[in-house]
Amino acid sequence: MKLAGHILWGVVSVAAAFCLGTIAVNRGEHINSMWIVMAAVCTYTVGYRFYAKFIAAKVMALDNQRATPAERLRDGHDFEPTNKWILFGHHFAAIAGPGPLVGPTLAAQFGYLPSALWIIIGAVLGGCVQDFVILFCSMRRDGKPLGRMAREEIGKVGGFTALLTVFLIMIILLAVVGLVVVNALKGSPWGTFTIVAIMPIALFMGIYLRFLRPGKVLECSAIGFVLVVGSIFAGQAVSNSPTLAPIFTFSATTLAIMVICYGFLASTLPVWMLLAPRDYLATFVKLGVVMLLGLGVIAVHPTLQLPALTRFVDGTGPIFAGKIFPFCFITIACGAISGFHSLISSGTTPKMIAREWNARPIGYGSMVLESFVAVMALVAACSLQPGVYFSVNSPAGIVGTTPETATATITGWGYPVTPADMSDLSNTVGEQSLFYRTGGAPSLALGMAHIFASTLGGKAILGFWYHFAIMFEALFILTIIDAGTRVGRFMLQDMLGHISKPLGQTKSLPAVALVSAVVVLSWGYFLYQGVRDPLGGINSLWPLFGIANQLLAAIALCVATTIFVKMHHAKFMWITCAPLAWLVVVCFTAGWQKIFSDQPRLGFLADAARLQSLLDSGKVAAANVSATHTQIFNNYLDAVMCGLFMVLVGTILIDSMRVWYGVLRGTRTVQVSETPFVLSRLQPEEL
């Protein structure tokens, strides 16, 4: 039996190596997506079976005899021992956002190879390890959040730095996801109607749950889902109506203002009215669509149309500027390693783990699944014709402002496409135009629609599937915007409360409205800057978000390494130090290039200098002088934000290294704030 096990794992390992090798060495001909899917599945399986088990057994010394916080502090609310598969689903639903879908779609401009390798290897050695280790650390500390662990294990500087970093990242995150929605909906009456219709549907759900059928969340969500699908069909009728279509056709600027107003309203209205019902609906739709996409990719197993490596590996890509290293590794964050996951792993989940060994499937396993979602998104994006992919994702500032010039530029890059091809495609999916839809969402929706339509309904309902995918992306992006604004408001009120007590009062309507307005205007400014950017906004904002998110992961890994050093000295610190070192090199290189590169498309300061010289030489038309001044200011602002992220993380890194040095040299007393061992008395029937 043992021999059979060895043989089986040997076969899986060889299969993983063979599939990875095949996608790595193949050049010049299209490969089937199943090579990537198989490489991912086999590598994840080996990583989970051997690496995660090694960390769990040898480093963490997980012990099912040890009572978890869920058992010791059981209160029927936050602390409750929960079945491991139910908690797995709950945790996965919490970590899965738009990041693993949008990031790989944008990074596909380099070709499928770098993204595929980074998603698979980065997750197994970095992202899964981070989620698992932070979950373990929090579980052994009564479910404490990351900021508090940073303060207790590293010091006060680390704790405050973590809090401030999270707040700033939130601002950039909300702006960038808002931009993705705006770019997906601009000039699209069908998409806009569907998303606008979700608001009254959510309000109806809120009233239904509170007054008509209190407590019937599943029933209410099912009704909400039927209504949302109905709104997609109604959206088609709206887009075909000469009277209604113009009413629901908005420019990017108008949509940005609408999103900003929505963020303010949703964060100040009672939660039960709009935010909570939308959140339930978004979570269910998200889980359903991810499952559907997985089944669709396996059933259709499309051939990848994009090459392994495109000509844009040299850093001249139209979607965002910068070479594979470091920009591929910050563009794809959530599918490989995401700092935000550390907030979830030290949030609700550690308070619900029934047995210590359950942390392996929940912490490591959920991230494996998240990474697989990123692989699916990459397959969907790379299965598009390269000409179509670049026509949708390239901004007008790069490819030209008319369909003819855009297609000529893209064809000149070696990716043939004609205005007629794009026009046919737009008509098929019910859009006026698919050019300049930067942000990743429309191209991902096209890829998903092709996969869904190949299995269900054929080309006749491609338009429905396209708008279903847009609805799915916009639905949970808007949920992030409203919930994120609310969270940002709480964080800011918490900080402001130390300066002015009235501002810190979360039940005072004027304080809530004022602080909400500050948060909304902060991310709203970056969003507005993004939609006005001639390069599409994604070029500057997505890398900023990627750097910020990866730097948050660096903070989490600093905390994890500090705890490992205190537990085992230097013996196992490589487990978290290796991904930490990689992230520090990647993020600081990317941050440095974004600020100081002498190429205007890449460096914020270089672009500001270019615009200033245009102004000085009088080459800017009088009507554009004010906008150019704003662009210069925005470049400086982005440079300052980027520099601030690097300084904050540099601070926490130096602070952590000081602690490690002290512990390893024996000059610092080792204080591990783990809760003492208590024997578990939990019975299986209690789960």
Binding site: D75, G76, H77, D78, E80, T82, N83, W85, I86, L87, F88, G89, H90, A93, A94, I95, A96, G97, P98, G99, V166, M170, L173, V177, L209, R210, F211, P214, G215, V217, L218, S221, V271, W272, L275, A276, Y280, T283, F284, L287, A333, C334, S338, F340, H341, L343, I344, G347, T348, T479, I480, A483, G484, R486, V487, F490, F545, N549
Partner: protein
């Protein structure tokens, strides 16, 4: 058949956990209360308050 039943139970369990219905059942048990519209509103207000104070993942 038994496997199918277990899978179904887990799926329903996940959906009920996400929809806070499991948490509501626990709340009723912990407070020896029975379901009523007022009880649900009391529970959900507190639940949502703490839920939406935490960061949502990207």
């Amino acid at each position: 058949m038994r496997i199918m039943r277990s899978v179904w139970r887990v799926v329903i369990g996940i959906l009920r956990e996400i929809s806070d219905q499991n948490a509501y059942d626990r709340h009723l048990r912990a407070h020896c209360a029975s379901h009523s519209p007022e009880e649900w509103r009391r529970f959900i207000d507190e639940r949502l308050r703490s839920k939406f104070e935490r960061a949502k993942c990207c």
